[in-house]
């Protein structure tokens, strides 16, 4: 693979977008950078396939979310998602809005958070989100509703 293969251009065109998605998933800038780099390393090794895909961006995003979920399994297999958001996350007046969101998302399970990010940040349909995560559309809807309900502890006026 040479440097004229289009990989560099692809990273430049999509890197910021992937980093932002990764940041919403991880809630930490360093982890998001690591996740983004790992994703593009995989993309690099499959570049011939990725570059010919119907949507290289969608392909890359799928790699990113699957890597995120897999790493979460490895690193935090003992993690137990809480049922409700804690009081500390509702102190929106005292901390930057960015941290409020990250704290709120951190209370969700990794898969629930991924569902929200794909649907409301990436504007994916239920069908595409479910397909990308390997879950049924019904499960995707259930996770979406449950996650939104939890976030409303922090954002009471959150719309579906």
């Amino acid at each position: 693979m040479s440097r004229s293969d289009g990989f560099e251009e692809f990273v430049h065109a999509t890197g910021n977008r992937m980093l932002r998605t990764a940041l919403l998933l991880c809630g930490d800038h360093q982890q998001a950078e690591d996740l983004t780099q790992t994703t593009y390393a995989k993309v690099f090794n499959r570049w011939r396939v990725v570059s010919r895909a119907d949507s290289p961006v969608a392909y890359t995003r799928t790699i990113l979310t699957r890597t995120y979920l897999s790493e979460r399994r490895l690193r935090r297999s003992g993690e137990i998602p809480v049922e409700f958001i804690t009081e500390t996350a509702s102190k929106a007046d005292d901390v930057p809005l960015r941290l409020v969101l990250f704290d709120a998302l951190a209370q969700l399970s990794a898969k629930d958070r991924t569902v929200l990010v794909l649907r409301y940040w990436e504007d994916q349909s239920v069908a595409d989100t479910a397909s990308g995560l390997g879950i049924s559309e019904a499960a995707c809807r259930t996770r979406t509703s449950r996650a939104l309900a939890r976030l409303r502890t922090v954002y009471p006026d959150l719309e579906a």
């Binding site: 693979m1 040479s2 430049h12 690099f44 090794n45 490895l74």
Partner: protein, 295 residues
């Protein structure tokens, strides 16, 4: 309020160093590719792998050919991995992991050359432990004190079964300056320079030393470069010659501690390596087999 709004507030201004991201992604991808090449046994001479092997406790007369097969709770007499010249000490052996591989590699380099270390990466251990084949991989960016530039030193520790009857000789066209010698304990070591990769900035070079134990149960391959291989035809060359000589590489592969059981102190040291990239976090993850629908 739409959820998109706080999301946009939180990350909308986040930006990446895109040039660096592309560069590092290529490098990480190449690391993974080299590891896979080594596992498949394809391009034995062409991969970056260096295999070293284990267990030459036999050379110290204590435990013949053991390192690879010793039990989990083994305690054996083995040379200390530090620079302490004392001949032996009792070491507890623990399963070799990616981190342990890198720590032991660093210790072996330290006995041959002075310099600084960074960019630790490793792979292997339980994920790759099977009934017929085990393997670990490690690498480190090493800058000798001569100040002429950084290179990558890599190592593969593998079951000898990967050789599948292949002879350890110098018949491969991709090998330059090839030599094979037999050690007193019957192990064989092959050293060579991979066919240089011509670039506009000079030749990309990789020197290799490869050890196969006398019973062919273990293979250890160590390599050193004169820069960073970015792709099959692209290098970032940092110096005229690789960071280690053939003689130094031969000494590294001949260290007594190589095997699938390793003194615990290496494993402990491996846990403290930083910055460390766990390549298992990459290879253990399946990438999509089919292109997802556009979205």
């Amino acid at each position: 309020m739409k959820l998109r709004d706080p999301m946009d507030d939180a990350v909308g201004d986040a930006t990446a160093d895109l040039g660096r991201l592309a560069y590092d992604s290529r490098r990480l991808g190449m690391q993974r590719r080299r590891y896979r090449q080594a596992l498949s046994g394809v391009g034995v001479a062409a991969t970056a792998a260096v295999i070293f092997s284990a267990v030459h406790l036999a050379s110290s007369g204590s435990v013949a050919g053991t390192g690879a097969v010793a039990g989990d709770t083994s305690a054996v007499a083995t040379p200390t991995p530090s620079t302490d010249p004392s001949p032996t000490l009792v070491a507890e052996l623990v399963p070799l992991t990616g981190r342990g591989t890198v720590a032991a590699l660093r210790a072996a380099i330290e006995e041959q050359a002075q310099g600084t270390y960074s960019g630790f990466a490793g792979q292997g251990g339980q994920l790759h432990k099977g009934p017929h084949f085990r393997a670990t991989y490690g690498e480190v960016e090493f800058t000798p004190v001569d100040g002429t530039g950084v290179g990558v030193v890599g190592i593969n520790v593998q079951d000898g079964s990967i050789l599948d009857g292949m002879a350890l000789d110098c018949t491969g066209a991709s090998m330059v300056e090839c030599q094979v010698k037999t050690l007193p304990n019957g192990d064989r070591v092959r050293t060579y320079l991979e066919q240089p990769v011509r670039t506009a900035e000079g030749d990309g070079l990789r020197r290799v030393a490869e050890l196969v134990t006398s019973d062919r149960s273990l293979r250890v391959v160590v390599s050193a470069t004169n820069g960073f291989e970015l792709a099959s035809s692209q290098w970032d060359i940092t110096r005229p010659q690789p960071v280690l000589t053939s003689a130094q590489l031969s000494q590294i592969v001949s260290q007594p501690w190589w095997g699938f059981k390793i003194p615990r102190e290496y494993e402990t040291a491996g846990q403290e390596l930083t910055p460390y990239t766990d390549l298992d976090a990459i290879t253990a993850i399946e990438t999509p087999s089919l292109a997802p629908s556009p979205g």
